[in-house]
Amino acid sequence: MPKTHKIEKLIEKIEGEATLHFHMKEKKISFVDIVFASSRGIEQILQNKPALDALVINPRVCGICGHAHLIATVKALEDCYEDIEISNKAKIIRELTLNFEIIQNHFKWFYLTIMPLLKEEQNVMRAAKPSQLMSKAIAHLAGQYPHNSYAIVGGVVCDPSPMDMLKVQHLLQETIRFFEAHLVHGESEKLLVCEKIEELLARGGDLPHILNKIVDQELQHCGKSFDRFIVFGENSYFQRGKASKTRIQPNISEVYLDVEANSNSLAKNVLYKQRYYEVGPLSRAMMLKTPLIKDAHRRFGDSLMSRILARVCETLQLLNHSLSLIKEIDLDEPSYIKPSTDIQHITGEGVGAVEAARGSLIHKVQLVEGTITSYQLITPTQWNLSQGTQENPGVSQQAMLGLEEIETAELVFKSFDVCSVCTTH
């Protein structure tokens, strides 16, 4: 019987920290414990608070995806109403600002996390510049970024002028130019319709450079998991559903979600019908059948190669989609329609699901006369980092199995874009 020994590694700079305990058998990883040692207890903090206070508290779950928490909150609260009207204008504006947050996240992840893991010097300004542009675009509509509470039950507080929308449009265009100057050189429009990964790898830019490096180091097949994907948030771009490999089932329900506590970690596991699923840009691309990602998936499966590619491609997709969304806004519509019943008279429960940068984010709330009696957050990283058993491991645990190098395992782990504060919240 070959002996197992353990290697412990503290993973830093993941919006907090986590400890990975690698079980090594015959020089290969046979299992990984993922331990989060701290939780801030947001769900308890929300207990007995007036419903609308959640709009101020919840963005503070996370400094990098707090806006997704705001939008999930407002949707969950609105879902407590039997009948509530939200203007199309407000819906589009909410979708735009959430897109901008996802975009800034992806730039930061690629330049601050992924490039240094592949032994490239960290270029902070390549993360900061596009993030600043997108934060500015959010601020035009929401006042500031991070941490605004501009989405309220009934719509949004802002009333942007055509000039404001022009400024937002220019910031998007400037960010696309940044993408073309640094991430993938040349016209980005062709990239969106590109069907073969070779076309991308032949281009200049930081993304092809990194992907070529991954191929050179023969890591392109590392990090495969169950090839199961799920997407709960739906909007004018993302599609809801689940997939096993390329087989898509569009009908899913929050009713089948299970949240389970862990004995040795403060993060809770999330399952759908007792199975673990991957969430995030790769899952979203699988639902959308994005040509380039389909090609990557066909050849490399749900590996770190596909995951990295999907995330960067999504950045460009959302930039372009946001530009077209702006054109659809009718600024003459109301931004806010006062709900017919004040929330302090609302008793009921609601669910709000959105796609955040790292995947599906679900908020569940119960109100009694406008006071929060129960609040549950299910975050994307909980899906991806669920800690299963040796017999039934979680998505990222499965992805690290069989690897020999701890360094590679860290790269695979971080290819899920880990966020410690969201995982334990």
Binding site: L10, S39, R40, Q44, Q132, G143, V421
Partner: protein, 291 residues
């Protein structure tokens, strides 16, 4: 010589770290400052090594609230602060959690607080460090406020501080100063509906800008706007009691707002209101682009 910064995190959301990345002068900032540790930016040392052996450092930055049982890299945050406090020139509390306890003073950690304060009350644990402390409150910090506070330490500029150790250059103002909705407040036009460019959120929707210390409308957010400008009430995020309860409603006694503008006696407020209410100013009853 670059000024060495150690960015240490307690119970936090990382929002302050992300907010600083939005500082327009960040490229120059990185020429003048070096992080011996930062939650996102690569640094010479790992957290594990820094908490075991003290490394040279000029300013200790603390983000997040502090609790006895809270650990970073296996060491209590209280011990890490104690290790670095004698070495550094200044300690800067970054954000409202590190300054007053903030949102996470209510986390399950029983003694969670700011470095020197729990809300307004002084905390004894680190009282001996108070001469070294500068507080930059805000949830999150305004990037310009933090960056320039750090520059003042680097340049050894004497900074006037308020009683919570906040630099007066930024915290002597109220968030109301510079708000584009000021006229509706000055002339007591008390009608406000969300989703409009017009109106003031002070009367009904809980806006705390007239009695909250901060430069949000003086130095705009992300260089372009502010919460109150777009129509979100100020939530008082720089202040000791953030977050208060029932944030979207103005508390009133007999129809009069309970919290009045900073330093304005109730009698003055009522007199002014009485005078302005006697007039109807046409411009303020119209949509701003129609007037």
């Amino acid at each position: 010589m670059k000024t060495k910064l150690f960015w240490l995190q307690g119970l936090t959301c990382n929002g302050n770290a992300h907010s600083l990345l939005n500082y327009a002068g960040f490229e120059q900032f990185l020429e003048d400052f070096e992080f011996i540790y930062h939650p996102m930016i690569d640094s010479e040392h790992t957290l594990s090594s820094l908490v075991q052996n003290r490394k040279p450092c000029d300013i200790l930055l603390i983000e997040g609230s502090i609790a006895e049982d809270f650990q970073r890299a296996g060491v209590g945050i209280v011990d890490i602060i104690a290790l670095y406090a004698p070495e550094v020139k200044k300690i800067v509390t970054v954000g409202t959690c590190a300054t007053f306890g903030g949102i996470f003073k209510d986390s399950p950690y029983h003694d969670s607080s700011g470095l020197l304060f729990l809300e307004e009350e002084p905390v004894t644990r680190f009282a001996h460090l108070k001469d070294k402390v500068l507080s930059v409150s805000g949830c999150p910090i305004h990037p310009e406020v933090l960056a320039n506070t750090l520059y003042s330490v680097r340049e050894e500029i004497t900074v006037k501080m308020d009683s919570f150790h906040r630099p007066k250059a930024f915290f002597a103002y109220t968030v109301h100063n510079g708000c584009t909705r000021n006229e509706y407040f000055e002339y007591k036009v008390d009608k406000h509906t969300f989703g409009e460019r017009e109106g003031c959120m002070f009367y009904d929707h809980g806006c705390q800008a007239t009695y909250t210390h901060g430069s949000c409308n003086n130095i705009l957010w992300n260089d372009v706007s502010s919460k109150t400008r777009v129509g979100q009430p100020c939530m008082g995020c720089t202040e000791p009691h953030f977050p208060k309860r029932d944030l979207y409603n103005t508390k009133k006694n007999m129809g009069i707002p309970q919290d009045l503008p900073l330093g304005v006696p109730k009698r003055v407020y009522l007199t002014l209101t009485g005078v302005t209410k006697a007039f109807k100013i046409e411009r303020f009853s119209q949509k701003i682009f129609d007037a």
